[in-house]
């Protein structure tokens, strides 16, 4: 947990339109450590997705610095699975390698191994529309893992799913992530999801967002996201974060 993989220092980001200037992020600093799952929660519209877009290189950063370990690769997972309906499961899983021009025999084998390991190999020649929402999300995760990134960025990865599937999937994803030893930044608005999955939770303030609170989640018996929800300390963290978010209707 001591190796810093990513360090964000005084990051600020503004958006411009004709009539005004919107500050999305202001003086945000945080570290991401090797092999941890870092959950970022914040009020809706606070700019947490913007943060992830910047980290994924989809948007220019404003002021501040972002420093990473050398040679790091990131994998970005969107809110919905975004599987291409015209490609088979296997081709979907390989799209990252194809785009980054890393479609070597070795990498393809690694991807196939992942599909086998997580029970998707038998569906490899089917199209996404024949898979359930949860399975599709799992394919999306494998597609992200196929390029072998050190850091995974998950942007509310289950928000399009129903509650039962979410629960099952969060534990599924957790196992895969821990198995493959990946560092993860998970963005969510679901406090329970954050506390049950993450090693650390960062609470962001309202827009323009900056770090408001930081929690290391230390449970009495940390196993998997579903059993973590029954942990005696779970509610403590839940309440604290709920209070930090300061939700008003």
């Amino acid at each position: 947990m001591e190796n810093i993989l990513l360090k964000i220092n005084n990051l600020s980001k503004k958006y411009h339109n004709k009539t005004s200037e919107i500050k999305a992020i202001e003086n945000l600093s945080l570290n991401v450590y090797q092999d941890e799952i870092l959950a970022i929660v914040g009020p809706s519209g606070c700019g947490k997705s913007t943060l992830l877009s910047i980290l994924a290189g989809l948007e220019e950063k404003g002021e501040g610095t972002i420093t990473y370990n050398d040679n790091y690769k990131i994998g970005y997972m969107l809110q919905n699975d975004s599987l291409f309906p015209w490609l088979t499961i296997l081709d979907n899983a390989l799209i990252g390698l194809e785009i980054t021009k890393n479609k070597t025999k070795e990498n393809i084998d690694r991807c196939i191994k992942l599909l086998k390991k997580y029970g998707l190999y038998e569906f490899r020649n089917q199209y996404p529309n024949s898979l359930s929402g949860g399975m599709r999300q799992r394919v999306a995760l494998i597609r992200t893992l196929a390029t072998n990134p050190e850091l995974l960025l998950l942007d509310e990865p289950y928000s399009a799913l129903d509650y039962q599937t979410r629960l099952a999937l969060s534990s599924d994803m957790y196992n895969i992530i821990k198995n493959e030893k990946k560092t993860v930044i998970l963005i969510t608005h679901d406090i329970a999801e954050a506390v049950s999955m993450a090693d650390r939770v960062i609470v962001l303030s309202k827009r323009p967002c900056s770090v408001k609170k930081e929690y290391s989640i230390i449970l009495e018996n940390k196993l998997n996201p579903i059993s973590n929800r029954k942990d005696p300390k779970f509610n403590y963290y839940y309440d604290m974060i709920w209070r930090d978010l300061d939700v008003h209707i």
């Binding site: 970005y76 969107l78 975004s82 291409f84 309906p85 088979t88």
Partner: protein, 270 residues
């Protein structure tokens, strides 16, 4: 297949029955139409000089084949439609791609394309004849004026309405613009592109006939024009009926292409 339940077999039977019924009814309507027409002509209820009749149309077709080389006229029209279809598809595809690629250009040219598209193209007829000459060139130009711009607009619209998530995904992989176009824009718009081709085909058909009405020495449009000038209504109506059959054939031709295009995917399924 044999594992279907009795209810399911009944259901399939019902669907099939309904399909046959639709075809039979369609066939009956056309037969009834020609039959009524013929009877009314025979009983002198309509003036065959003005309204022609099915038997006269058949006679006209026979004499056209013998004397005026009907097959040649049909082939000329068909050739012109295909030629203009190919040119229009190619050019529209290239322009739509450029507009998608360079947002600046699309913003600059959008009003021009809209204006040209909404202009009634017949108004350009005299100019086209003067500039391109009274030849097949004029006919093709007329057809392109009618089909090209709407095709550009349709293609460009479907390109830019591609699911943004797909593009974001590729961007997060640092994909080039070329990759985004080839791996997302084109395959995700397959159905749109095919339906645009269908529209383009019928637009070209309209354009070619319009062009042939304006200037030509051959083709079905010419036969219609010639027939009206010498007040040979038989010739006019016969040409129109042949046109209808031709457009039906072309429609099935495109539908066939569509089947081939989607077949590739089904093969992969196995």
């Amino acid at each position: 297949m044999s594992t279907f339940s009795k209810e399911h077999l009944l259901y399939i039977k019902k669907v099939r029955k309904e399909k046959i019924l639709v075809h039979v009814t369609q066939f009956l309507i056309i037969i009834l139409f020609f039959l009524l027409w013929e009877i009314m002509a025979k009983k002198n209820l309509i003036n065959t000089f003005l309204y022609s009749s099915p038997s006269q149309i058949i006679q006209t077709i026979i004499s056209l084949i013998k004397q005026q080389n009907l097959v040649n006229h049909i082939l000329i029209t068909f050739y012109e439609v295909i030629l203009s279809f190919v040119i229009s598809c190619t050019v529209a595809f290239i322009i739509a791609t450029i507009l998608w690629w360079k947002k600046f250009l699309s913003r600059v040219f959008e009003p021009y394309i809209t204006i040209i598209n909404s202009l009634p193209k017949v108004a350009l007829g005299p100019l086209i004849i003067i500039w391109a000459g009274a030849s097949m060139k004029s006919i093709i130009v007329m057809s392109l004026m009618i089909s090209l711009f709407i095709t550009i607009i349709n293609l460009y619209q479907s390109f830019i309405s591609t699911n943004k998530n797909y593009i974001t995904l590729l961007k997060s992989l640092k994909a080039s613009k070329k990759d985004i176009f080839l791996k997302v824009i084109l395959p995700s718009n397959r159905a749109n592109i095919i339906s645009t081709l269908k529209i383009n085909m019928s637009m070209n058909f309209i354009g070619i006939i319009m062009g042939e009405l304006l200037v030509s020495k051959e083709g079905l449009g010419y036969l219609i024009m010639y027939g009206s000038q010498v007040f040979n209504i038989n010739l006019v109506i016969t040409s129109i009926i042949i046109l209808g059959i031709l457009s039906l054939i072309m429609y099935y031709f495109i539908t066939y292409l569509e089947k081939i295009a989607t077949k590739n995917r089904q093969v992969k399924l196995k």
